[in-house]
Amino acid sequence: MTPARLDATFAALADPTRRAILARLASGEASVAELAEPFDMSQPAISKHLRVLEEAGLISRGQDAQRRPRRLEAKPLQEATAWLEEYRQFWERRFKGLDALLEVMQAGKQTKPKRRRRH
């Protein structure tokens, strides 16, 4: 994936309405009217979001010339998600170590008063 393409993907994903549109399209293609329905937004406003998603290559238009349904294009999203997932797993490995350390620290704190009494 080129950096410019990844930039466009992340920029398109930065908006909650656009993520909601993608989530809706993940369960099947839909027309602009159908996509506008759950949001309190005009069709032109939704069309603007759809244009950003289309330019990022995240959605495309279906065959039906009348409904012009939009559908999800999986590839760029999968690529963007994969980058995030790899970075996430790197940090999750660290945090698992921190979990273990915190357990040891808590066990240590619980036994400390005893030690103090002994001295």
């Binding site: 994936m1 950096p3 990844l6 989530a23 995030l84 797993q89 999750e92 945090f95 915190l102």
Partner: protein, 166 residues
């Protein structure tokens, strides 16, 4: 299949990476683990096969920190350092971050917020990069390689995000 759901990580806006993670410990302890050199050395790991032989922390506003990781196999090193901009124990840290051998352009600013509820601590870490290109570069850099991913994962992530914001 979702490999691990505990850590949530997302690209946010143009220049940020945001992560949230819960820990089963009071925040004073999590803060301690984040700021005491002998504890940081234990958990802030590099890639597999690397250790952190050097960990210096001067925990006060304007104080510096420096971490050095080393691959024992061939002695290769990787180092990062910066300055504490805010220190508010046990709830908030703001630090600058710059690698000796930069793998992203410029300096990043990291903010870590610790909140406690019912004995659980939620950590929210935000890394703000100098540019969108720097942020995306970090996300593109190979970390451990060979991660399996699927359409299911994507759908799950999207739904989760939408639910959170609803």
């Amino acid at each position: 299949m979702i490999p691990d759901k505990k850590l949530k990580l997302n690209a946010s806006g143009e220049r940020e990476i945001v992560m949230t993670r819960e820990f089963a410990a009071p925040r004073a302890l999590v803060f301690e683990a984040y700021t005491k050199p002998q504890l940081v050395q234990i958990w802030l790991l590099g890639p597999p096969g690397w250790t952190m032989p050097v960990c210096e922390i001067d925990l006060r506003v304007g104080g510096r920190y420096r971490y050095v990781w080393r691959r024992d196999q061939d002695g290769q090193q990787m180092a990062v350092g910066g300055v504490y901009r805010e220190v508010k124990a046990p709830e908030r840290l703001v630090v600058t971050e710059r690698f000796d051998d930069p793998w992203y352009p410029g300096e990043a600013v990291g903010t870590v917020v610790f909140t406690e509820k019912g004995g659980m601590t939620t950590l929210t870490g935000t890394l703000l990069y100098e540019s969108r290109a720097a942020r995306d570069g970090v996300l593109k850099s190979p970390m451990e390689g060979g991660v399996a991913y699927s359409y299911d994962l994507l759908e799950h992530l999207l739904h989760e995000q939408v639910r959170r914001e609803a």
